[in-house]
């Protein structure tokens, strides 16, 4: 029987952007409010999983042509690089620095290297979750 998923696919096309936007918000809000890289990464993985549910593996691989194992490695590299960057300034490993910067459009921003470390956590969580889901899902 040929099934018709038009309602699920149309709803996914709208809800997906809400979930991705919410995950980006949670990622950036992690410094002052609940959230952070872990929850944001899981929520981004949830958005991709919703895409996998509404469409199929090959279509999603065409939409998002990422190798998730490389994404995990990149995340670990960013996290280690943030930690090792402190060694260049004669500070202990994983010492973080922050500054206030005036960006023309956005105004006064508090830039912190912990956000870059959190980006590494984000990429690792997305990569590991999607690797697990894809490895389980592609077995016939």
């Amino acid at each position: 029987m040929k099934t018709n998923d038009v309602i699920l696919q149309t709803a996914t096309k709208i809800v997906l952007f809400v979930i991705v936007l919410f995950s980006v918000y949670i990622f950036f809000a992690g410094h002052y409010t609940p959230g952070g890289g872990f929850v944001g990464g899981l929520l981004t993985a949830g958005a991709i999983i919703l895409l996998l549910l509404a469409f199929d593996m090959k279509t999603v691989a065409k939409i998002l042509p990422f190798n998730y194992m490389n994404m995990t490695a990149l995340g670990l590299l960013i996290a280690i690089g943030t930690g090792a960057g402190a060694l260049l300034f004669n500070k202990p490993f994983l010492t973080h620095a922050f500054t206030y910067a005036h960006v023309p459009v956005l105004g006064k921003l508090s830039l912190h290297t912990a956000a870059i470390f959190d980006l590494g956590v984000f990429l690792v969580v997305v990569g590991v979750t999607m690797t697990i889901i894809q490895t389980i899902g592609e077995d016939e």
Binding site: K2, T3, L8, V15, I19, F22, I26, T33, P34, G35, V39, L43, G46, I49, L50, L52, L53, A54, F55, D56, M57, K58, T59, I133, G137, E138, E140
Partner: protein, 94 residues
């Protein structure tokens, strides 16, 4: 006054969740259980909102949206498993 109303509302939703748990346990078919679990998730959203009113904090507002998204994805996954027998297809037949 507000706290009394919030407590009464939490009690009512708890009774509703108890009824839904009865449906999850008793439900003759699997779709009954799935719909009951989805409704439990939405009732949990209501309870979290009421608890955040009772505790006078807005730290739980992210949890509300998160739980709504997770309930939706979980219900879609269960429904797809019931309909097709597979949750993630390798290649869709068009």
């Amino acid at each position: 006054m507000l706290m009394t109303i919030v407590l009464i509302a939490i009690l009512c939703i708890s009774v509703a969740i108890a009824g839904l748990i009865y449906r999850v346990i008793k439900g003759p078919t699997t779709p009954d259980r799935i719909v009951a679990l989805d409704a439990i998730g939405i009732n949990l959203v209501a309870i979290i909102a009421l608890v955040s009113i009772a505790l006078d904090t807005n730290a739980y507002l992210e949890v509300i949206l998160l739980l709504g998204i997770l309930a939706f994805i979980g219900t879609v996954a269960f429904s797809k498993y019931l309909e097709k027998g597979v949750i993630i297809e390798n290649e869709r037949d068009r």
